[in-house]
Symmetry: C2
Subunit: 391 residues, 2 copies
């Protein structure tokens, strides 16, 4: 089979061709720097498209355009949110609450803040990856300035109870950030009903280009700029605007607004069929994280007993099927996934975790081929495995 069946869409997605088409004229024709819009018509033209992109994202999030600031991606947005709030509001307190299954962009930023004297408190998550809003409530003290809880987990797809947590934070006048990198463009988001103050998103997770993202900062919320410089983006994010990337992100947002419902329904259908067939054909396979219907509809994260995921992924790749182990950002790491560890999966099982994440360009016709390949590979790996004791 020559076709590549790409089932690692939580890691990154191909850029939609309509997005590329929209971006193309801004590389070498309408290439000007929007900063000089007051004196250059070429810059003015680019600026108008940048503002249209901002509007498209605002619409997708139920925000106002002037609450959207462009960044280089989800990681930068997370850094901006956490460090921006912490360093701006440290006089109000030094405690930050989060959960252990956050993306590394959040966890490592918190680690840095710890080095600057902030105290990080982690709320437990249950075996499905859910945090209990009541526990957040219990951890809050007078010194708490920020709560950061991801919208949905990148490895296991668990969708956290953001609205309830948002309400708790808002009532107590505590800033609330959510890393929505896995959900923006995939499921409906409304920053107002979520009661979030800051939200991170990344273009390449929903068919936009890599190297661009945005952060929502609620009107009136002050952050210390993370990226210092020329004062672009109202001083919140300096650096020449990545106009092509931003315009691509805007187009991806527009397409998501229009097509999300249909896309996600197709994606869910394929994911469900895949899971159904895997369960029927391969023995001793277990779902990690939330029940199949209360997780992101593109996500399947499973333990295949008795095998390691590296040879599995390599063998799948040889058959044209690309899937993932854990987070792509931690790929090649010798450490077991911190997410699976946090929900209580044993180390030996973690190394056998397989993440399959469906995207809108996947074809449901390939499900049988994928399951058959998986089955054959699992059988041969189990035959060789010292960890496999049979059914």
């Amino acid at each position: 089979m020559n076709t590549i069946i790409y089932l690692d869409n939580a890691s990154t997605t191909p850029t939609d061709k309509r997005v590329i088409k929209k971006m193309l004229p801004f590389f070498s024709e309408n290439f000007a720097n929007p900063a000089t819009k007051w004196t250059s018509s070429l810059s003015k033209l680019v600026d108008e498209e940048v503002e249209q992109a901002r509007l498209n994202i605002a619409k997708l999030l139920g925000a106002d355009p002037d609450e959207i600031f462009f960044t280089s991606g989800g990681t930068e947005s997370d850094n901006t949110a956490l460090k921006g709030i912490a360093f701006k509001h440290h006089d109000r307190g030094n405690e930050i609450i989060s959960i252990p299954i956050e993306h590394e962009a959040v966890l490592k930023s918190l680690e840095t803040l710890e080095g600057f004297g902030f105290k990080i408190k982690f709320a437990r998550v249950d075996s499905k990856g859910f945090v209990d809003p009541e526990e957040i409530k219990r951890l809050i003290t007078k010194k708490t300035i920020l709560v950061s809880i991801m919208h949905a987990n990148n490895e296991i797809g668990t969708i956290e109870p953001i609205e309830e947590i948002g309400k708790i934070c808002r009532e107590r006048d505590i800033y609330f950030h959510t890393d929505a990198v896995q959900t923006v463009g995939h499921i409906p988001i409304n920053v107002k009903s979520f009661n979030v103050d800051l939200l991170s998103l990344s273009a390449h997770k929903f068919y936009g280009p890599k190297g661009v993202g945005a952060i929502y900062v609620r009107k009136g919320v002050k952050v210390k700029p993370f990226m210092d410089g020329g004062g672009q983006e109202k001083g919140i994010r300096s650096g020449t605007l990545n106009t092509t990337g931003i315009i691509g992100l805007g187009e991806a947002a527009r397409l998501a607004s229009e097509e999300m419902e249909q896309t996600e329904s197709d994606v869910k259908k394929m994911r469900d069929l895949l899971w159904d067939k895997i369960q029927k054909q391969i023995p001793k396979v277990y779902l990690n994280g939330a029940e199949i219907d209360s997780r992101l509809s593109n996500n399947l994260n499973i333990i295949i007993k008795g095998i390691r995921n590296e040879p599995l992924l390599v063998a799948l790749n040889e058959r044209g099927v690309i899937a993932g182990g854990g987070s792509a950002c931690a790929a090649g790491s010798k450490y077991p996934s911190h997410v699976l560890k946090s929900i209580g999966v044993k180390d030996n099982d973690i190394f056998g975790a397989l993440r399959i994440t469906i995207g809108k360009f996947n074809k449901i016709e390939y499900v049988d081929y994928v399951v058959q390949s998986l089955n054959e590979i699992v059988n041969s790996l189990r035959d060789l495995s010292p960890f496999w004791e049979g059914e």
Copy 2:
């Protein structure tokens, strides 16, 4: 005239069409995340191109590929260099030396560091924008950990004596960073003969795409990561790699290595002709910064006595000529250029500063049209100006 004559190439440049061609397959065909190269052939393929880009940049700088780290641009590289060294080596001392005509990405990062207890010392620059290495030497104390001096100034094109300063720093075991955003791809650079430990560059200043840059970090030099997260780029810069941007940057570097000499000779010829004709046709015009032959060959920064640059730029734009006032990053600002102020230009004159920066796509045939347009506009503005007292 329908053609746009773009003379603001220090602000940004159009992406070379060969660069776009190189990038295109990496948006939606070879789109995978290089982080998963161990298990995915699609990722491996992208990773190889990313490493080729790294090699191309290393070659352009006389560096080793493993000393090059990709960022979102010059601003991020500057932030990474300054904050990375300061927060990593604060136990060795808290003093940093720089000059007042640095780009805002450096100045504002230093301001942030000042808030964290670092002491910033500025060496004076002379009326042409040059810093005297002897003054750097005098400012150095046992507490000095970092010197940051730009390679060439973005407004006036003055090229600083980097090699001498590098030597002074290396002898004293003090880290030395240079912001080379205006010079990489334009004039020869060798990080070894420059004795620099860190160097910032940006793709869109030399016909690469916006939203991507790199930082050179000399082998063995430790920095605290600025962008925290998944640990990409050996932990120095987290975040999913902007593969299309990086591959574009690599291609721009390759083209620059091959064509720089010819390009810069053409650019200089056009700049010199322009300046010659302006001087002959327009009275009371003065050069800001270094002599015409000891500045960047693409740069012309002039004071046109008796006028303000905003109406001048608007009128030029109406005739299809796009030029700049000061730095694009500070465009629209009500404050006079900090660069021109630092070299002693009077406020009234600063507001009349015109920056013309030539690029490789400019055509020398248009020089007469540009000078004629400028002359006519200057005459009509001077007729109306309360500041103009005649020759």
